[in-house]
Structure formats: C-alpha cells, structure tokens
C-alpha cells in the first residue's frame, strides 16, 4: 500500500512538473528534455512497482527487463538536459545526437533481450537478478553519461552568473543526490552486493530531484513555471477542501436529516457529481458570457487590445498626419464610431483639423466648444442640458469632445461623433478615452515638434546653402582680383622697364663713350639722369618683390651655409661703393656655427642693411658687422656710426613706405624706396628668423640685427618647416642695387 501510494505520488508529481514546464515553453530544448525526463521517471516508478509486486520469477524478470529498458535513456537525457540548460537548444551536433540515440537504442535492445540481466534467482531474501555480459554496457551507459553530465555541470557552473547559477546549483544538487542514491540502491547494491530490497526505494529518490526542482521553481523561477505550479497547487487544495466539505455534508445530511444509510458507492457518486458541478461552473459561465455577448452586444471589444494597438501606432509614427489618421481609423473601427477628428492647436491660436468622416472643416473660431473644453476637459453631448452649446454639438454631429493636454499645455482636442449603433458611449469607452488622452497628447506633441524640427532643418540647410554660395562667390571674386593685381603688377613693371632700360642705356652710353665729347655740366646732368633711372628701376623691383612676397609667391629653399663667408662676399661686393663714400667696412671675423636658411634671401637682406647703413653713415664713418650666438641662433649685427634713430621712429622702421620722419625734406634726401626694410623683415620671418634695430639715439648710430636658426640636428629634422614652396607660380626676387 505504501509502495503504491509513493509510486502514485512520484508519477503524478513528475508528470505534473514535466507537463507544466513543457507547456510553459514548448519550443525550448530545456523544457522538452525536462518533460522527457519526467516521463522516464514516471515510467521507471511504474515498472519498478510492478517488478516488486510480481509473484513469479518470469514476471519479475519481465518487469526488470522493462525497468532496464525504460531507464536506458535516463542518464543520457539528463546529460542532454544539462547541456541544454537553460537555453533553447542542446548545443550538440546532429551527428553526436544521433550517436547518443543509437547508443540508447542498443542499450534498450540489450536490456530487453536479456543480455544485461539474463534471469532472476529467487532466494529467501527475495529476488536477485543475474547479470550477464551486457551489464558492462549498461554500466558504461550509466557511469559514462553521469561523468559527462557532471563535467558539463561543472563547466557551466564556473561560467554562469546570478540567477542562472542559483538555478543550476539546485539542478546539480537534485541530479547528483538522486542519482547517486538511486544508482546505489538499484544498481550497485543489486549487482555487487546482491541486495535487492533497496530497489523499491529507487524511484523514491526522484522525489529528491522533484523537491530540489520545486524549490528552484518556487524560489528562483526555475523554468519559469512558478505561477502555474502555484495556481495548480491552490487548485488542488481547493479540490481537496471541496471534496472534504461535500463528503462531510453528505455524511451529515444522510446521518442526521434523512435518517438513511447511504451506501459508500452512492456517497462517492454524489461527491463526484458535486465536485463536477463546482468545478465546471466557472468555465461554463465564461462560455455563456462570450456567447451572449456575441449575440446581443455587438460593440464589444477588448480594451486592452485596443490600447495596446494604439500604443503601438503611437510609438511607430512620428509624422503627424500618419499618426492622427491611423489613430482615428483604429478608434473609429474598434469602438464603432461614425466619425472622429483631431483639432490641433497651432501657432497663434490657429487650429488645424484632421478628420475622418466629418465632411467639413470644424470652424473653431466661433465655437463655444473650445473655451469650455479648456476648462472642463471633456464634454459629452448626452450629459449637456439644452442650450446653445448642445445645439452646436448637435448640428456638428459631435458626441464627445475631449481635451488633449501635456502638463499645462493644451495640444488640441479629440472630437468624436455618434457611435455607429446609435448607442451611448459606455463606461468602458469613456475609460479607454481617459487612458488614451494623455498618451495621444504626448504623441501629438512629439509629432508637432518633429514637424518643427524638419521645417527648421530645411530652412537651415537652405540658409547654409545660400551662405556657402555667397562665400564661394566672394572667394571667387577675391581670387580674380588677386590674379588681376598680380597680372597688373607684372605687366606694369614690364611695361615700365622697357623705357627705363632705354633711358639708362643711352644715358650710360652718353656718359661713358669716349667718342662723345661732353661738357662738365652735361656730364652732371646725364649722371643724375642715370642715377634717377637706376632709382626708378630699383623702386619697380622693390614693388615687384613686395607684391610677390605678399602673394606668397617667393620660395624659400633653406641650406646649410656659413654666414661669415656670405658676409665677406657681400662686403667685397659693396666695397667699391663704400670706398667712394670713404666709409670703412669692418667684419668681426668670428667663426660661427652654420646656419640653416636660404642664402639668396639672406644675401638680399644683408645688401639692404649694409646699403642702408652706407646711406646714413657720413664720410669717414664705420660700418661694423659682428656676430653673436646663443647656441640656437646666430645674430648678425650691422652697426653704423651714422645719424641714429629716435625711439619713436624705431618702431616705424619695418613698415611699408615708412620714412624716418614725416618731413618731406628728409624724405627727398634719404633716398631708398622705403620698402627695403619691409622686404628684409618679410624675408627673415619667412625663414623663421627675427629682425630688429636699436639705436642709442639721434647722432649715435644705429644697429640693425637679424637672427637665424643654427643648423642643429633638431632644426634639420624639421627641415620641412623651414622650406616654403608656394602653390601655383613661384617667382624669384628682383635684384635691388645699392
């Protein structure tokens, strides 16, 4: 009796668990395998029971064979279950799966054909099965797959985290304890120790597994069937309670009120009937409700479904028109309303109407509805008293008007016409509208914002396009003007040069040809003509140079060179002129490090500085060129003993066309173009150098100096920085004579 009960409990609980888990998630491999496992366990309980109850040796043997057959797939299924847990697939190749299935089948065939146990011996203690050769195969099945299972569980346990890990823990515990115990009682004890009475306990141990799994289900949502199981248990308890109550009732009634003996069979029939009625009442009621609704209540709809459909529409549409039309369509169709409209508040209190079914634009300017709505939130036609408002709503065919607002802002209104069936709006309808209104308001607001953003984007991109075009235009004009200027300067200078060449050449010829006799006066005149022409040519060259430097057309090609050598070269160039003026040129012969700069440009700068010095140094003066270095740069100083420069004038020195003072007298005699220093400064700075001037004051001479980088390794590594190649045309500097 005890055995029967326990067997039944095992079977029912296993099957229930398996069934619930399968229905919860039929597609998942985990749930499927779990169902299969519970089926196997139930079958095991059944066959085990019968094997114990059998009287004859043949019967016992028969059932034992069945036990073996039924339990052959048990551990492999557990293995597959642990591989799958908790996912939807087993994660094993079809090939391997096939192998496992074949293995199971072979085990079953061996079991059935008596190759695992070949018979039974009845002893005083009970029945002992006799092992055969195939028992090793069976043992391999159990032990082998058990090891695989434990290995898989161990691997997963290491990797899993959180809830899954907890669930896995219980699964492991359940599996491990159940099968170790079961293996001991049903297999090891039987085979090795010939102890059979423990076999009955085998299926019982599955209750341990059931227990752990149940705990995992309840506490840790294992297989997510907690709710279902809970409900089932409650249902069962209800059943039991009802049964007990009815049984008690019948007994009492029969004993005390009817004074009749009721036969137990009758009592049972009454009990069953009563339970039947009790349990079928609810489902029947629902069925009848559905039926009568279908017949009499045409307008029925599922509000949850409607709300979820509308929520979906609102989440999917951002474009205002599509949003409003779809909402209206759904609302009107589901709730069977004749017509509806959205009246949306736009800029400057203007309203736009998007309607479905209303055949005219709702004139919102004169409507009483709008202001009233703003205060009331919702106006229903049926609830109004007769008056102008009701008249208005009647003529417009409006049954319900509802405000849509987000916090304090009114977005617009929802206007609904009559229901198609002519009925009043039900509680359900109004509730749905109540829920919908704020959602719709937000959705509309978003759609409107989106419209605004789109419009703004279009305007913005138009503006940007326009501005870009303007800029491109301006840029093009600038380029044109720049080119024009370049062309003008080049052509003009060329044109100027032709007559200047003629003047210069003829004046020179006149002065220097021995076959042309000249008076002293003539010589003076011609000499001054020649000098003036030369000045003119220098001016044109200077202006060309300035124009080219400013246009970035001058190339800087730095080299490593010796500044001292260059200075000496220039000094010998200039010596004749200096001798003429009787000015001494001195070079302080210090060996310095080599510079990294463009020697041609430096040549030009030196010529300019020395030339200036010569101009402003009186007869018998000295021009001294010295050097100074700090390891990074070399400074070249050109010191003259000339007229000197006042402090304020010093600051004006390196500008274009600047003179030392504003007096026209000085300008006339100082000579030079006023551009020389500007050009020198530009050139030095293009070579990443520095140029400056110092003077003790008027009458105390001036020192012009520039500094250029030494050709250190650092500098050479960045040679690129010091080179300058203009894009487009490169022009060279025109020579400017002293």
């Amino acid at each position: 009796m005890f055995l029967l009960l326990t067997t039944l409990i095992v079977i029912i609980s296993n099957l229930l668990l398996g069934f619930f888990s399968y229905t919860k998630n039929p597609k998942s491999a985990t749930n499927k395998l779990f169902l299969i496992l519970t089926l196997i366990l139930s079958l095991w309980a059944v066959t085990n029971y019968f094997s114990i109850q059998s009287k004859t040796a043949d019967d016992v043997f028969f059932w034992i064979k069945l036990v073996l057959t039924v339990t052959s797939p048990m551990v492999p299924v557990i293995y597959l279950l642990t591989r799958a847990f908790p996912g939807r697939t087993i994660g094993i190749s079809t090939y391997k799966l096939l192998l496992i299935i074949i293995f199971i089948l072979v085990t079953q065939i061996l079991s059935l054909s008596g190759m695992v146990y070949q018979g039974v011996i009845i002893t005083n203690d009970g029945v002992t099965p006799v092992p055969a050769a195939g028992i090793f195969w069976y043992g391999v099945n159990i032990v082998g797959f058990l090891f695989l299972t434990l290995h898989t569980l161990y691997k997963k346990y290491k990797v899993f985290k959180g809830l899954e890990k907890i669930q896995l823990k219980y699964l492991i515990l359940g599996v491990a304890s159940t099968f170790i115990l079961a293996a001991i009682t049903n297999f090891v004890a039987v085979s090795l120790f010939k102890v059979t009475f423990l076999v009955a306990l085998g299926p019982l141990f599955t209750l341990i597994l059931v227990g752990f799994i149940s705990y995992a289900i309840i506490k840790h949502s294992f297989l997510d069937i907690g709710l279902v199981v809970g409900r089932t248990v409650a249902y069962m308890i209800l059943l039991l309670t009802l049964s007990a109550a009815y049984a008690g009732g019948i007994f009492l009634t029969s004993s005390f009120f009817l004074k009749e003996e009721i036969r137990s069979s009758q009592a049972i029939i009454y009990l069953v009937l009563a339970l039947f009625i009790a349990l079928t009442f609810q489902p029947l009621k629902q069925l009848l409700e559905k039926f009568s609704d279908k017949l009499f209540y045409r307008g029925r709809y599922d509000s949850n479904q409607l709300l979820s459909t509308l929520a979906h529409i609102m989440s999917v549409n951002i474009e205002l028109h599509a949003l409003t039309t779809q909402i209206l369509q759904t609302l009107l169709t589901e709730m069977r309303i004749s017509k509806g409209a959205f009246v949306l508040k736009g800029e400057n209190a203007k309203y736009t109407t998007i309607s479905l079914g209303f055949s005219y634009q709702l004139d919102t300017t004169h409507s009483q509805l709008i202001p009233l709505l703003s205060t009331h939130g919702m106006i229903t036609f049926d609830e109004l008293e007769e008056g102008t408002l009701k008249e208005e709503m009647r003529s417009l065919g409006i049954s319900i008007a509802k405000v849509l607002h987000v916090k304090e802002d009114i977005i617009g209104f929802l206007i609904l016409g009559e229901k198609a069936s002519g009925e009043v709006y039900s509680e359900q309808d109004l509730k749905v509208l109540d829920i919908l209104a704020p959602e719709m308001a937000v959705a509309m607001q978003n759609a409107e914002s989106y419209e605004k953003i789109k419009k703004f984007n279009v305007i913005l991109s138009e503006e940007v396009k326009r501005a870009t075009q303007d800029l491109q235009h301006a840029n093009f004009r600038l380029k044109q003007l720049d080119q024009l200027k370049d062309d003008f300067v080049s052509v003009a200078s060329h044109e100027l040069r032709t007559p200047m060449t003629a003047i210069r050449s003829y004046a020179w010829m006149a002065l220097n040809r021995p076959d042309i006799p000249l008076s002293e006066k003539m010589k003076k005149y011609l000499s001054r003509t020649l000098i003036s022409t030369e000045r003119l040519i220098n001016l044109v060259n200077d202006m060309l140079n300035v124009s080219r430097i400013e246009a970035g057309r001058i190339e800087i090609r730095p080299q490593v060179f010796d500044i001292l050598a260059l200075v000496n070269e220039i000094v010998s160039e200039v010596e004749p002129k200096a001798d003429e003026k009787m000015v001494r040129l001195q070079v302080v012969n210090t060996t310095t490090a080599k510079l990294f700069a463009d020697p041609d440009k430096v040549h030009q700068v030196l010529l300019n500085l020395i030339g200036n010095a010569l101009k402003f140094t009186p007869t018998d003066g000295t021009i001294a060129i010295s050097f100074f270095t700090d390891g990074k740069v070399v400074e070249v100083l050109v010191k003259d003993s000339g007229v000197g420069i006042s402090r304020e004038d010093l600051s004006k020195l390196f500008r274009k066309f600047e003179r030392l003072d504003n007096s026209y007298v000085a300008a006339a005699t100082s000579g030079g173009t006023g551009l020389g220093l500007y050009i020198s400064k530009s050139l030095i700075e293009l070579m990443h150098g520095r140029i400056w001037a110092t003077s003790e004051g008027l009458g105390k001479g001036t020192t012009f100096a520039f500094a250029l980088p030494i050709a250190t390794k650092e500098i050479m590594d960045q040679a690129q920085k010091f080179t300058f190649k203009p894009e487009g045309e490169t022009k060279s500097l025109e020579p400017v004579a002293l």
């Binding site: 080049s490 200078s493 060329h494 040069r497 032709t498 007559p499 200047m500 060449t501 003629a502 210069r504 050449s505 003829y506 020179w508 010829m509 220097n512 040519i537 044109v540 060259n541 060309l544 080219r548 045309e729 490169t730 022009k731 060279s732 025109e734 020579p735 004579a737």
Partner: protein
C-alpha cells in the same frame, strides 16, 4: 678684345633698345643684324649661321617662345650659337619655358648697364667656343 667677325642677331621690337644694342655691339666689332618682329626674326633665326642670338620674348606677330618652338621642329639651315633670351618680364615661368625650349641663358634688360651687357655677351661667346 673680342674676336672680330662674330655674327650676332638681335630680335627686339622696341626701336630704341634695338638701335642701342646694334650700336653697342657694332662698336665692339661684332657683325650685327636685327629683326623688329617675330616673323622676320624667325626667318633670320631659321637661316642660321649666328654665333649668338639675343631673343626678346614679347614680339609682335610671333613671340620669342614660338620662335624657339619652331626652331625645335625645324632646325636652322645653318647651325646657330647660343640663344640668349632678352626680357624685362618678371615671370620665372617664362624663363623656364625658354630654357626647356632650348635657350641657353637670359638677360634682364633693365638691370644691366651697357658694359655689363657686353661682358655677359662675351662670356656666352667664350662658353660657346669652349
């Protein structure tokens, strides 16, 4: 002193400059011929036989670069000496073009005094002899 008998061709459109160069070189003992425009200039260049040609770029009818180009396509009937470009233009590109078309050197007219012109000519002729 220069070697007498050297034949120099001057192609220059400005009358004053042309006359000036002619006078200058003749007084130095060169045999000088002139051309006032590109067409005449081309004719004389193509004829050939010049020890030195001074070629202006800006010329009417055919500019100096075209003359050089044509010379490449149709070499002179008699061999010519070096061709020196005379220019007042500030364009390096033009000068580079002239070089790539076969010019040997260039002189910037406005920057040279007559004695400097003569010494330049002398050095070109000497180089040609070498």
């Amino acid at each position: 002193m220069t070697e007498p008998g050297k034949k120099v061709l001057i192609v220059e459109d400005d009358e004053f400059l042309r006359d000036f160069y002619q006078e200058l070189f003749t007084s130095e003992g060169y045999i000088v011929d002139v051309a006032a425009d590109g067409e005449v200039g081309w004719g004389k260049v193509h004829q050939g036989g010049w020890n030195l040609i001074l070629l202006d770029i800006m010329l009417p009818k055919m500019d100096g670069l075209h003359i050089l180009q044509n010379l490449q396509a149709q070499p002179a009937q008699q061999k010519n000496g070096p061709i020196v470009v005379l220019t007042n233009l500030g364009h390096d590109t033009v000068i580079n073009q002239a070089f790539s078309l076969g010019a040997t050197g260039f002189l910037v007219k406005s920057s040279l005094n007559p004695d400097q012109v003569l010494s330049e000519i002398r050095s070109y002729l000497e180089k040609a002899n070498a």
